[in-house]
Symmetry: C2
Subunit: 107 residues, 2 copies
Amino acid sequence: MKQTLPKLVHHVFFWLKNPDSKADLAQLLDGIRSLAAIETVRSLHVGVPASTEVRPVIDSSYSASELITFDSVADEQAYQVHPLHQKFVEDHKHLWSKVVVYDSIAV
Amino acid sequence: MKQTLPKLVHHVFFWLKNPDSKADLAQLLDGIRSLAAIETVRSLHVGVPASTEVRPVIDSSYSASELITFDSVADEQAYQVHPLHQKFVEDHKHLWSKVVVYDSIAV
């Protein structure tokens, strides 16, 4: 049976300054998990590159993947300014060298 | 209430050769929707860049976003070789100039 996803998909990829540090990765992943407490977050996926086949189009260079679904753009904006999200950024931004965000709305 | 997502997230971003062509975009989006018929697909999000705030870390240059969840890497591999997926690639690859894929497994 298929699952219906909320309309707004917010997908963030993090590249660690120290990509070989398991401690830094664990700290970042724990931080991402804390975001589930934000009211407007409908679902949260915390991941790392999967062991799918190697193909040139696949980017598996990132350290951590944070996928959050929301019901609307307004709910994503409420999340951006939420104290728990701001605390996450403040407490963890020293860990990453690059972040790429994709916000996609269902059509 | 939070929604639990399947473990494997397969997120594909497409850049159209003709990014201003609404016909090409519609054709690509319809093609992506056809992938929902593949048995191992647990959920499918078909999207375009959302009108969230403009920030340097946000990549909104893509034309279409295809987010598919699977229960496992094996289910994603079954999808890759499925005739419907191969037909989608054959029928639509002339439309895009670039594809980036992120496969992320929940941890």
